[in-house]
């Protein structure tokens, strides 16, 4: 058996040595990525398809460049597409070595052009799982177990190429599948609200964010708004991630744009289609448009604010207006 990221024993040891003090964890996104994302890391990607994906963090990783990344996620769209696009443009600057995944596409917006590019040209190593499998693998890790039993997808061809094992259940004597835990080196998580110590309040579907985060050695959190600690702890049940697990907190409004962030903004369909269209052209061999996109929106800017600033205000107001999720009262936000 081989582990990607940390083995269960390494993950346990890592936490034993971790500083769990309640301190102000604000830093720049640039500093957080410099500190917590390394070449060869297994990266756990939060969100689900194009909703609440850690786009701001991914853009910063692309600016800095990293090699031989392992991406672990259940279903994702924009985050791996952006990373794959950077690799398509310049594999010496950024490269993905392996993906442990259940689904990589954009649902209503179409399939992923660059998943096809990477796999059909055999540029990455793949390990296919189901959505439940990836979620349960993170869950096993997050509860300190080396594996977790699961009933699906027994009988699928996935089991021929992934690390799942089928055993006879010692209690029922029927076949059952065991999934190895997944402990990423770093989890990339975008949430609606966090406090300066790292407590996070996720709104709407949790996806697998709490499990991915608690499974990882380090956690980078971006949030749409930073709220006062007293506001956060008024509702302890609503804290999705406790501060002592989190390593870096960065307030990045629109940190999951152009995806959907529950209660904040809906998908920017126009921008997603524009980006996806350029990825499709790149798959077919014409990378000029994609390169221009990266130069304009990622390499040519310092942060998400400068990225989003290039779009018309009306386009931004539109995605805020059509967001159907509940607008929670943030209470007092952190002013500076």
């Amino acid at each position: 058996m081989y582990w990607t990221g940390l083995s269960p024993d390494e993950a346990r040891q890592y936490l034993a040595n971790k500083d769990k003090s309640k301190k102000d964890k604000r830093m720049t996104l640039k500093a957080a990525v410099e500190k917590f994302v390394n070449d060869g890391d297994n990266i756990g990607i939060g969100g689900f398809v194009n909703a609440r994906q850690p786009i701001a963090i991914v853009h910063e990783i692309i600016r800095q460049g990293r090699k031989d990344l392992i991406l672990s996620f259940q279903s994702a769209g924009l985050a791996p597409e952006y990373l794959a696009g950077a690799m398509a443009i310049d594999p010496d600057h950024l490269s993905i070595k392996r993906m442990e995944l259940a689904y990589f596409a954009h649902e209503a917006f179409g399939i992923s052009p660059l998943l096809r590019y990477l796999t059909e040209n055999s540029l990455v190593e793949l390990e296919d799982w189901s959505n439940y499998n990836m979620s349960a693998r993170f869950k096993a890790a997050s509860i300190g177990l080396p594996f977790i039993p699961c009933r699906s997808p027994l009988g699928s061809d996935m089991l021929q190429t992934n690390r799942a094992k089928v055993i006879t259940c010692p209690f029922t004597e029927r076949p059952i599948m065991l999934l190895p835990a997944s402990h990423p080196n770093v989890a990339l998580i975008h949430v609606q609200e966090a406090d300066i110590y790292g407590n996070c309040r996720i709104q709407g579907p949790l996806y697998t964010c709490p499990e991915i985060a608690m499974a990882a050695a380090n956690i980078i959190v971006t949030c749409d708004r930073l709220i006062e600690y007293d506001e956060m702890t008024r509702y302890p049940n609503r804290i999705s991630l406790p501060y002592f697990a989190v390593d870096a907190v960065i307030e990045v409004p629109f940190g999951s744009y152009p995806g959907n962030c529950n209660g904040i903004h809906y998908f920017d369909e126009q921008h997603i289609q524009e980006f996806r269209g350029l990825c499709e052209k790149a798959r077919k061999g014409d990378k000029a448009g994609l390169k221009e996109y990266y130069d304009k929106y990622i390499f040519g800017v310092k942060n998400t604010t400068e990225f989003v600033n290039q779009l018309p205000l009306s386009q931004i107001q539109h995605v805020q207006k059509i967001e159907p999720g509940i607008r929670l009262d943030a209470g007092f936000t952190v002013l500076e």
């Binding site: 279903s75 209503a108 009988g155 996935m158 021929q160 949790l206 697998t208 999720g325």
Partner: protein
């Protein structure tokens, strides 16, 4: 009230209507992305107001009246939801036995209802260099395994209906041998219906092979067989499926998917 049948409709609209009518009221239905979401919404608006949709990203039992979700994880799945956590909780409900139907699609299907949504090419040798890479399982294989029954939707073309498929992503009746699912350790009963652009199909109880139940408007048992890459069981009592009503088509076009995200998509040849 006299029923008025629609004069024109797209193949996707026909699938949506057939899918909707297949769903009984007051059942828990795990919804895959795309046409299943449209079909469930149509069922909620017609005969099935008590249907409980489950979305794998976390939302359970919402009202689908804040716009058609473009993703199963989208904010539109959360309106008036009765339970909302994440992927683990949705699949745990399924594994426990709360989900009556899973509603999924695939790129390729075999006579036993096994589905491929992972890759085209040779497996396992060509796994790391597929001819065409598809998005992957997502939650479809989990639904196919652990929902009590599965409803599958397919574009009906010979190249998608094959005796042997490139890759089994979502298990149907596996090799069709007696109790194959049970022996594999699966808990759900397996495929119930296959709804295609040409027909409604089921499965023979003895052989677990696909069986024609009804032809859609404009199709005959022969035209359905001609579009299928393997031999279908064609019993003598195949019926003609009742065409979509004007009201069903109006609901789809005006209320559910007015922008045509899923129902107006061109079927790729």
């Amino acid at each position: 009230m006299k029923k008025e049948y629609a004069k024109n409709f797209t193949p996707q609209e026909m699938i949506v209507v057939a899918g909707s009518r297949t769903l009984p009221d007051k059942k828990v239905v795990f919804a895959g992305t795309g046409l299943p979401m449209v079909a469930i919404t149509l069922a909620q608006l017609t005969h099935g107001p008590g249907i409980v949709p489950v979305f794998e990203a976390g939302a359970v039992g919402p009202e689908l009246s804040r716009g058609l979700p473009l993703s199963v994880g989208d904010s539109r799945t959360t309106y008036k939801a009765n339970y909302l956590l994440g992927l683990n909780s949705a699949f745990e409900l399924t594994q426990r036995g709360y989900c009556d139907f899973g509603f999924i699609g695939g790129a390729e299907i075999d006579p036993y209802g096994n589905l491929n949504s992972t890759m085209m090419g040779t497996f396992p040798d060509g796994y790391q260099k597929p001819k065409v890479r598809l998005p992957g399982s997502g939650g479809a294989s989990d639904m196919a395994c652990s929902c009590e029954q599965t409803i599958i939707i397919m574009v009906h073309e010979p190249r998608r209906f094959n005796e042997k498929i490139s890759y089994v992503t979502s298990p149907g009746f596996l090799d069709g041998s007696p109790n194959a699912r049970q022996k594999a350790g699966l808990v759900g009963k397996g495929p119930y219906r296959v709804i295609t652009t040409k027909a409604i199909l089921g499965f023979d109880e003895e052989t677990s092979r696909m069986k024609l139940l009804a032809t859609l408007p404009g199709e005959t048992p022969k035209s359905v067989q001609d579009a299928t890459g393997f031999e279908l069981i064609i019993p003598s009592d195949v019926i003609e499926f009742e065409p979509p009503t004007e009201e069903e088509i109006r609901l789809i076009r005006e209320q559910i998917d007015p922008k045509g995200y899923f129902v107006a998509k061109k079927i790729k040849e």
